[in-house]
């Protein structure tokens, strides 16, 4: 169970977030929507523990995985190693399978810089999915992909969540994605930003 309580987050004197609290149960998925620059990535960096400078309290899981808004791969290691290095107990075959699932298996031996940006984003997805995360954090994971690939990735994410049941929180700009994946949709708004609407998924009772 992930518990997020953020009283206040500011950069210098500019307050970005205020009074955001919610919980995510294992197997539950939360989508965060909101205009560009509102504070979505900031919220994720608090949840993931990257940025410890805020007032509030967050309980995290032990095994976490993250997909950043940018691929954030190690440019000096091969695509395959990029998967293996963060999951030391993962077998080589499993890593290759993870790459195959996002459609870049044949690029496994290349350096990230030799991949297209969309391919790099998919490697980042594969990296996050390859472990069995208890908490999965994704920042616009399906942006910058063509519609067919994006659909594949969505399906893959659904499958992963069904399989391993992590607590998932992800940021998106596409309401359709949010509605398809999430149990809860939060919309950030205001200044400082807070949750302005919180709705359960349509197809839920």
């Amino acid at each position: 169970m992930i518990r997020v309580i953020v009283h206040r987050k500011a950069f210098g004197t500019t307050e970005i977030l205020r009074d955001i609290s919610f919980t995510i149960a294992s197997g539950e998925t939360v989508a965060v929507l909101g205009p560009s620059g509102i504070g979505k990535s900031t919220l994720l960096s608090l949840i993931s523990g990257i940025d410890p400078a805020f007032t509030g309290q967050i309980t995290r899981a032990k095994r976490m995985a993250i997909v950043f808004q940018e691929p954030t791969l190690l440019p000096w290691r091969s695509v395959l190693q990029n998967i293996l290095l963060v999951h030391e107990d993962l077998a080589r075959d499993a890593a290759l399978a993870a790459l195959a699932r996002v459609g870049v298996a044949e690029k496994a031996a290349l350096f990230p810089g030799q991949l297209s940006l969309g391919q790099q984003r998919r490697v980042a997805l594969a990296r996050a999915f390859a472990g069995r995360p208890q908490l999965l954090i994704m920042d616009e994971p399906f942006a910058s992909l063509d519609p067919a690939t994006a659909e594949d990735m969505l399906a893959l994410t659904e499958a992963l969540i069904a399989e391993t049941g992590p607590a998932t929180i992800f940021v998106t700009h596409a309401r359709s994605e949010a509605e398809r994946l999430a149990d809860q949709i939060f919309e950030l708004g205001g200044s400082p930003a807070t949750i302005v609407t919180s709705q359960p998924r349509k197809d839920m009772p």
Binding site: M64, I66, T72, L74
Partner: protein, 253 residues
Amino acid sequence: MKWLPVSPVTIPLLSLLSLLLLWVAAAELTADPEILPMPHALARPFWRELSSGALPYHLAHTGLRVLWAFALAMTIGTALGLIMGSYPAVDRWLDPWLVVFLNLPALVLIVLCYLWIGLNETAAIVAVTLNKIPNVTTILREGVRARDPNLRAMAQVFGMRRLTYLRHVLIPQLAPFIGAAARSGIAVIWKIVLVVEFLGRSNGVGFQIHLYFQLFNVALVLVYSLSFIAVMLLVEWLLLQPVERHVRRWRTS
């Protein structure tokens, strides 16, 4: 820029040749073999030192000292640089020490080492190492400070192990700094070894250079200097550059 398929050793050799021509011209202008002898005038002294075994003997001693001091200074200096670059709190404490040791004259450190440890090999190597560590630390610290915070964040969230982080995330990022420290490092070390040797050792290239300098025997000073340089050129070509090419592959592919 490439008109003809040239072998990779052609240009370095041509380059050295042009340096040789420059030397000939300078010697011609100086017109005093006591100040700058012609290159060919070194052949006989070189051969004499080589066949008498003196040159290999002193070269080996110096080489060993350089190697030891290099390994020690790079290891300790890099470790210190990593720590000081990563933890500003530690840095605030150690930074004044770094400045002091960086600017402590080699002579002072060397003499203190000889007097404390004794006129022996250990003292010589410790003295050189102590002289060089601050240099490596300074360069590496800059590198660590310039590291990419996003990769750090990634490693942190995924719970990457410390050693893996060091080896696969931090060190590769620092490669240019390590390269700079290593290359300028061997040079500085060798310059200090020269001083160490003439102050208190009984062999080594530095000892010989100083000896022949006292006798104003420029030819032999040059023979010993150039022999060491030749060794360094070989190290550069056979070791440093291949390693560097391997490490830099991801940039060029």
